[in-house]
Symmetry: C2
Subunit: 355 residues, 2 copies
DNA sequence: CTGAAAGCGCTTACAG
DNA sequence: CTGAAAGCGCTTACAG
């Protein structure tokens, strides 16, 4: 055992006004109070007198002091939450981001994004990074993880999932729309208009049908086809999320004989690709082929798309998710599962009734 | 002065195998070495024997140890870089993200995103957050800041700007394409095809014409119009980045009499909106109105868009930016300004030659 | 209500 | 080549 170096005098390094960034020590020194007091004021903790508070606040302002999240994270909150988005190109996720932002706007929480580009490995890497950074919580959008892995993440960090169905989960919250019902509404819309050969274009799956958005939509599609006596016309194709893969799948669908009368794509973003291939194949939409998407993203309104779509509000989901996460961070233990019921297929040119 | 509590024994808390996350102390204890040694192995610092290295590596693996960036940030590198994107909806920025990701894939750097949604206040907030988090560096895409503010950021953190022209900047690097030239090529393409009344639809500006992408493109448009003897047909409209604002602007453009023969939009994303309004107005593209965008994003290929566009590679820009930033972080002091020369307008249906 | 001290998990001189 | 110790900037019991 070595002797202690110098007697630990507890000497406070009363940092002079260097050009370096101000720390909590500088604020305390300027205000003539302890760093503990500054910390309390900053966090709105109980037990500070108005005078002390105002002294601290004015030195904070004078020094332009901003607490470092890294230092905070080592002891308590970092006031940052992580948002994992699966794909930056799909406009639906922009809606979710907007919802999250608007919920967090007036709070002291900052949002940092990670994008997994639909790659399972990147998804894990991004989540690890967020946990590593000791963020206060994460919102996972459309994760491609099995319930076990989800639970493992929730074990490490407060978590809310969007677009992941585990209504029985206890350690994390979810915010979803009723994807089964949404798909059924689409089929109904098409069937009522007299279309029978309705194909469903889905994402390539990997055995997570129960929990994923895509799995639920596919189940809803199949159920609805049967309900409408169209079981023999059930046709599902799976494609990865690249233009090339989607185009190949659509071309394959259109080669079937007899050709489908309608294609229902699992998300608007893919439906736009369907419209493109149909046009290039010389088909008239909706006369030769009806096309319907899912999400009712803003782009559906573009006249050249005029895409019918099932209306779900990404903004609402994002808003709820952020709200739930903040509650979890603040200590709520009991799970909450937010589910939006869908009512409406917004009908545009791409699936207008046949003349 | 208070007496020291217990004599500081320097006792190492040889953390038992709790369920808590492993720290560098756990790794050191398991390997039977010092934490300093572990730290060195982790950072590939010089002066560690092969045996020590392998001992450490195996305990790291055994414990599943991952260093916390927050703790690292307090002393040195955090191995995280921040990417600021102005807008999540514009597909061009997805290209840049892909470029950044591919450059950083094989390195130990993590990317975290911030989105400013084209709001100056959010831009500042996101940059502050990245600096607060003590990230190792930032890439700012299409910042709306004046040179002074840019310099202030670069003063605090290694920085690279994409889509911001300050070729004389010394404290940060830039990666750009030649926006003036790009705009001139577009005008030339349209003028050669016999179109004279060529309007330019730009983003609302705020006196940063010299440095912004939009300002440069507008300058290029004006110069080219004069070069082609079309000065009297110069027509520029500014609109904020919302569908509503863009639609209003386009409608206004189309009301002019005589009506423009072509609309050149500052970015593809806006050009799609132009196509929509034109279609709704009953105009035939390109017969009644030619439309050209900028960026040549993937979506231009959709048959319903078939948008002609100037080809710049967002991926290349992102890749260069990431490369430059890592060099800066590693100590390069001298500035580098990467500029791509543009050659090509990719002509599609939206501006095909008149029959 | 207020403050001194310990400690979060790392890295960096520095000494051996 | 290796390790003990100081210190980064905060928060949290704890004592007064």
């Amino acid at each position: 055992m070595k002797p202690a170096p110098e007697p630990s005098t507890g000497r406070v390094t009363a940092a002079p006004a260097t050009s370096a960034r101000a720390t909590i020590n500088d604020v305390a020194a300027l205000a003539g109070v302890s760093v503990a007091a500054v910390s309390k004021v900053l966090r709105d903790a109980y037990g500070v007198s108005p005078e002390l508070r105002s002294k601290v606040q004015s030195s904070v302002a004078k020094l332009g002091y901003r607490p470092r999240p890294a230092a905070r994270a080592m002891r308590g909150r970092s006031y940052t939450i992580g948002l994992l988005l699966p794909d930056i190109r799909n406009p639906f996720f922009a809606d979710i981001l907007e919802g999250v932002n608007s919920a967090l706007e007036r709070t002291q929480y900052q949002t940092l994004l990670g994008i997994s580009q639909s790659a399972t490995s990147m998804e894990a890497a991004v989540i690890d990074a967020m946990v590593d950074w000791q963020m206060d919580g994460v919102i996972l959008v459309g994760p491609r993880m099995a319930p076990k892995e989800m639970a493992a993440v929730a074990d490490r960090i407060p978590m809310v999932a969007v677009g992941h169905h585990e209504p029985q989960a206890r350690t994390f919250d979810t915010a979803n729309n009723d994807d089964r019902m949404g798909a059924r509404l689409v089929v109904q819309h098409l069937a009522v208009a007299g279309r029978k050969r309705i194909a469903f274009l889905n994402l390539a799956v990997q055995g997570l049908d129960e929990v994923t958005v895509t799995g639920r939509r596919e189940a809803g599609y199949r159920a609805a086809m049967r309900e409408h006596g169209l079981a023999r016309h059930e046709l599902v194709l799976h494609a990865e999320q690249t233009p090339r893969e989607v185009q190949l799948a659509v071309k394959q669908l259109l080669k079937a004989s007899p050709r489908p009368e309608a294609i229902f794509a699992w998300t608007d973003f893919v439906a736009f690709e369907v419209l493109s291939v149909a046009r290039e194949a010389g088909l008239s939409v909706p006369a030769d082929l009806a096309v319907v998407g899912y999400d009712n993203t803003r782009d559906c309104d573009l006249a050249q798309h005029a895409l019918s779509s099932i209306d779900q509000s990404g903004q609402a989901l994002g808003l709820q998710a952020a709200r739930l996460l903040v509650e979890r961070i603040k200590g709520r233990e009991k799970e909450e599962h937010f589910l939006v019921t869908l009512r409406l297929v917004v009908v545009r040119g791409s699936s207008a009734a046949k003349a």
